[in-house]
């Protein structure tokens, strides 16, 4: 793992917070940019994509067309197995897109912006949660992300890499109303 100089604003902000951006090689050969602080790694895309509403959009027109075909002409819909496969694929994209939009709404509600300025406090929060984690199993670790307008409960799970680094594997936001239930 090698620390790299990152010219971006995010890199500067993270360095200012005492962390850095490093490239981690995943076992499938993909290079993953992570924020690193001590023995904790937070993959930047899990925050910059998932939490910022940047998950791939689903094709609304194609979904509507397939649903209408299924409703109005079931025989024709069933005649082509590709219709069924594609409908399932689009529904998956829809739910993942909606989850990502919901995460973005949650962070906006506590006053965090959809920008580098928004990503860096979330990453800083996760890096601090990671430092506290005693990782033996993928237990959900609670944390409270503080924003200018309120707090958001964040549940994260962590894995230990072969070199002993704690790596963020998942992050879910618990909206206020669910937290109160």
């Amino acid at each position: 793992m090698e620390a790299k100089t990152n010219p971006t604003e995010l890199g500067k902000k993270l360095r200012f917070q005492g962390s850095e951006i490093v490239d981690v090689q995943a076992p499938n050969g993909k290079t993953i940019a992570c924020a690193k602080q001590g023995s904790v790694l937070v993959p930047i895309d899990k925050v910059a994509i998932y939490a910022m509403g940047k998950v791939k959009k689903y094709p609304e027109d194609e979904l509507r067309r397939l649903q209408e075909l299924k409703q109005k002409n079931r025989k024709s819909f069933d005649a082509n197995p590709e219709n069924k496969r594609r409908l399932k694929e689009i529904m998956k994209l829809k739910y993942n897109d909606e989850r990502s939009q919901e995460m973005l709404e949650s962070i906006k509600k506590i006053g965090i912006a959809d920008s580098v300025d928004g990503i860096s406090p979330i990453i800083a929060h996760l890096l601090s949660v990671g430092e506290e984690v005693d990782v033996q199993s993928p237990v959900r670790h609670p944390g409270k992300l503080e924003g200018p307008l309120g707090n958001l409960k964040v549940l994260s799970t962590w894995t230990v890499l072969p070199d002993g680094m704690r790596y963020l594997s998942s992050m879910n936001f618990i909206p206020q109303k669910e937290e109160n239930e």
Binding site: V24, A26, P27, N28, K30, I32, P43, D45, K46, I49, Y50, V55, K56, Q67, K70, Q71, R74, R85, K88, E89, M91, K92, Y95, N96, E98, R99, S100, E102, P138, R140, L155, T157, T159, Y167, S169, S170, N172
Partner: protein, 171 residues
Amino acid sequence: MNIDDLLMLTDDQIDYTSLSEDILQQLALGEELFIATSALTELSIRNSPCAASVAWEILSHAHGDHHLQARAVEVLFEVNRKRAMDWLEQQVPECEPFMLNAIMELIIENESDFKFEPGLSITHLVIERLAEFDEDYEGTRFPHPAVKSSFLKHFDYLRSGFAASAHHLAA
């Protein structure tokens, strides 16, 4: 690649078609909900025998979030209609607006299954629930106005029947 290796990645970096059903099952029941939604969908696309049991596991334990659960009920409905209908009947009276919206979309898409019993009772329950969300309702963005309007368009004849029988009983 094992589960931990896969969980290092984001959803769009994973080729689900190359994974075994055992791995897909573990991912679908895992904590990374973007990946769980995709893994469950891949099991369903393959018509895997375990798709229904994984979907049921998600629904019966309220695992994950409402997005994953909405996907799970669609998967279950496809392979085990009776169990899915039982779950829907239980959920409709009290589920949160997002899930009600997802259930309405499922009903519209599979209209013929909800015109007659046992599905018809669920349709009636949804119509009853919709009274909570009149035009002045400002609680959440769900049920989505377009979904509500489409649902009422499909099942308007039931609403009139409902009103007529209520009027008859009152008289």
